[in-house]
């Protein structure tokens, strides 16, 4: 059995989730690694869409930003930023959106704006960017983030992106057309919503249930179908490491 890190498990789990998708709206960081890995390993026709307007990018090395020349140079087409948001995202053309965040709650709502009071924040984070729009419109959303009591919190001080239930209403009641988060992929396992509340559905190899509970800021529901994520294969790890080396 090959050695692998929790981060590698998370990325490979995220990449596997893209096996049968047509296109994916990619943010920078872990989502970008996962989407590029998926294109190499499982789904060569996966179309990568970046908020910089790059559609069908085929980067040979991982970009540092969502607007690297590696993306525009290898894209099928590049459109303006208004077009990517209005016609592609709001227009309902995106199958999967990938999001990270500083914090998440049990409904899959995300905070990437501030910790503390908005006008007098303890920590000012970068802010919304395209996240609320991705969360609203992608047919489904995969959230990728490390699990800890600081990030998996019982209540968000600020809802940047809507999951399944926020400010007293369901996403349907808020009129959001996309399906919302269908998988929250962490370093410990994979959570999926059940009637809007996240529950642990898969646990990564050699992680114990009490670890997951300890790293969740609320009383985490466990799926009756809880199963173990299949561990990374040699060839998956090899390609991931090759990709991150470049």
């Amino acid at each position: 059995m090959p050695e692998f890190s929790a981060r590698e498990m998370m990325i490979i789990a995220a990449a596997r989730a893209l096996r049968d998708e047509h296109n994916c709206f990619v943010g920078i960081g872990v989502p970008s690694v996962a989407a590029n890995l998926a294109r190499r390993l499982y789904n060569p026709s996966l179309m990568l869409i970046y908020e910089s307007g790059c559609i069908g990018a085929k980067p040979t090395r991982l970009p540092l930003s969502i607007g690297d020349s590696e993306l525009s140079d290898t894209s099928m087409t590049v459109v303006s930023v208004p077009e990517i948001f209005n016609y592609w995202l709001q227009g309902g053309k995106v199958d999967v959106g990938f999001l990270g965040a500083a914090q998440i709650d049990r409904y899959g709502n995300l905070n990437s704006t501030v910790i503390g009071d908005y006008d007098h924040p303890t920590v000012r984070l970068p802010g919304a960017g395209g996240a609320p729009d991705i969360a609203a419109f992608a047919k489904e959303v995969f959230v990728v983030l490390d699990q800890s009591v600081r990030s998996f919190v019982p209540e968000l001080g600020f809802v940047t992106s809507v999951g399944h239930f926020a400010h007293g209403r369901t996403r349907h009641e808020w009129g959001l057309p996309g399906g919302g988060p269908t998988q929250v992929i962490t370093n410990l396992g994979i959570l999926v919503p059940n009637e809007g509340e996240l529950e642990l559905r898969w646990i990564h190899p050699s992680v114990e249930l009490k670890d997951v509970r300890q790293h969740t800021g609320w009383d985490l529901k466990i799926s009756p179908d809880l199963a173990c994520t299949s561990e990374p294969e040699e060839w998956e790890l090899k390609e991931l490491r090759r990709l991150e080396e470049r």
Binding site: L64, G67, G127, A128, D133
Partner: protein, 271 residues
């Protein structure tokens, strides 16, 4: 109509204290040289508009020239936080910063409405988020056909729009290729506009994904080779990723930041 003039002259003519200045370029073609010139001329009390206030905003905010920021994502892309932006929001240093915060779609559509001569834009956005209600520039509107509630944002027509482009021709028409961002909308929406370019050419070539902006929309063109560094200009030079990583350290400390600006921006000869 687009006059070819030196950058210092263009900034002095077009940017006044208190102006609303849009500096755009989405990762690609960020008008750093123009921002440096604003710093050298110490034009203050600005309202800065930028979808992604990254290093260029850290510069302007850190030296205290910005009173108000209209934005949607303020970070160092792929690296982390923007320390000068954070310091001004969290500690009010060197001055408090008033924020008008949007999602990308919201701010993009403020420009789109401005470019289209409309007083507002309609979008599906903000529903259920805490962004709704933090400032008065997000309102709701009802579809007169379906009765649905949607979001509305007001048009944005900056006093000055500044972008960097690869090329101008001798008439002052401008050509951009690669990631074109909101550059066209910014030029169309702004009351005055400045385009810094890598070079002036006799004739434009064919480029897929290129846009061209006619001279009569541009007030001034300034030739500034390397004017987008440390960001990049497709076909000219690459992004200086090392500098973006180094910035995290440079900007972390107030004095270190000021020393860097003195050394690398204020003492630099005019472009």
């Amino acid at each position: 109509m687009a006059r070819l003039i030196p950058l210092a002259t263009a900034i002095a003519e077009l940017v006044a204290p208190g102006s609303t200045v849009a500096l755009e370029g989405f990762t690609h073609l960020i008008p750093f040289a123009a921002a440096a010139e604003i710093i050298r001329q110490r034009i203050g009390h600005l309202t800065l508009v930028r979808l992604t206030p990254d290093l260029v905003a850290d510069w302007l905010i850190g030296v205290g020239l910005v009173d108000r920021l209209i934005f949607s994502w303020g970070g160092n892309p792929g690296v982390g936080s923007l320390h000068r932006f954070r310091d001004s929001v969290q500690q009010g240093w060197p001055r408090p910063l008033e924020l008008e915060e949007h999602s990308h779609a919201g701010l993009v559509n403020r420009y789109v409405a401005g470019a289209a001569g409309l007083p507002f834009a309609v979008l599906r956005a903000y529903a259920g988020t805490s962004l709704n209600g933090i400032h008065p520039n997000i309102r709701s509107i009802t579809c007169p056909f379906t009765g649905e509630e949607l979001a509305a944002v007001p048009a944005l027509n900056p006093d000055v729009g500044i972008v960097h482009a690869q090329q101008a021709d001798r008439d002052g028409n401008v050509m951009i290729w690669g990631i074109t961002g909101v550059q066209k909308e910014v030029i169309l929406a702004s009351k005055r506009s400045l385009v810094t370019v890598e070079e002036v050419v006799d004739e434009f070539g064919e480029h897929a994904n290129s846009i061209r902006i006619p001279e009569f929309l541009i007030d001034a063109v300034a030739v500034v080779p390397g004017g987008a560094r440390p960001s990049y200009a497709s076909g000219y030079y690459d992004r200086d990723n090392d500098f973006y990583l180094a910035w995290d350290r440079i900007a972390r400390d107030r004095d270190g930041f000021l020393a860097w600006i003195r050394e690398h921006v204020e003492r630099r000869a005019d472009a």
